[in-house]
Symmetry: C2
Subunit: 159 residues, 2 copies
DNA sequence: TATTGTTATACTCTATAACTATA
DNA sequence: TATAGTTATAGAGTATAACAATA
């Protein structure tokens, strides 16, 4: 006898603003709204890249390697704000999928340079198209000016 | 012979905008700047609440329970956007620290109502003071109008 | 001594799934 | 049959710490 399937709140859902409870100071805290907005955008990212086996960190890493051929893992890690071990795992992932190669750095025998393969280059272009389109839909309620202002304020806040 | 201590990039550091690499489309994507801004604010949160053994989720849960005495765990989970099992763990944490109590709900024998203790109430006030002050410092480069506009745009984006 | 890459390990957060008591 | 809470388990992502090779 099969048990009924019950769906839990899935991770890939935006955080709702629940009717009923008093949110107290929450709605005036940047931290809370930043988190809600970020998750909403994360949901959009996932929908846009469905089937591509990608995450924001993977996309960012591929994009950076594509724009900076020969870049070192450590620098990719710095851009992402993660430790070297994490950047290493990302490089392993890229190589295992045939999206990038490690080539010896001629100036420093300790280091590898990362280079996208043609497959990596076309994947990153496809992802970029989808993600830009996803962001366009998600921010459709914002005017072009508002979107630009939001970006400016976020960058200012990120310091 | 002791090995030299080497500091890895600590989690509690903002994501830097690295000099050198080409960021390509990254600086025009809301997702990327949202993440950088959110982490910067998370760092601020941690500095402001150092020693209080708190996380953003714990703070949010305490605040919501404080503002909504008798609220159910599931509703707290909905506000946070997490599954019931996670909300349950948060309630366990609150009780184990003497910050909240579960009391039987008279209208529904399946449910508990959550209530802050006096210790929980004073802690949440202390946290609120510190976090508001931390946000004030972090967003000092924004005018009051810019901060308000940022909040408005974030809420719009979060849907 | 410091840095690059690497590997192994541990921790945190969260979802998933199953279960119980009650609705 | 559905819902509130509970518990156990697993997975993703990341830091930490150590190490070899090179600077």
């Amino acid at each position: 006898m099969k048990r009924a399937i019950r769906r839990e709140p899935h991770a890939l859902l935006p955080i709702p603003h629940v009717e009923g409870p008093d949110y107290d100071a929450l709605d005036d805290l940047l931290g809370f709204s930043l988190r809600r907005a970020q998750i909403a955008m994360f949901v959009t990212f996932n929908e846009a890249t469905r089937g591509l086996d990608v995450t924001p960190a993977r996309f960012t890493a591929l994009l950076i390697v594509g724009a900076n051929p020969g870049i070192r893992q450590t620098v990719v890690g710095n851009v992402l704000g993660i430790a070297r071990s994490g950047a290493n795992a990302l490089a392993d992932w890229m190589e295992s999928r045939g999206l990038a190669e490690r080539r010896a750095d001629k100036r420093d025998a300790r280091a590898w340079g990362l280079y996208l393969t043609s497959r990596g280059l076309s994947l990153v272009e496809e992802m970029k198209r989808r993600i830009v389109e996803g962001e366009r839909k998600r921010s459709a309620s914002l005017t072009a000016g508002e979107r630009k202002e939001l970006l400016r304020l976020l960058r200012k806040l990120a310091g």
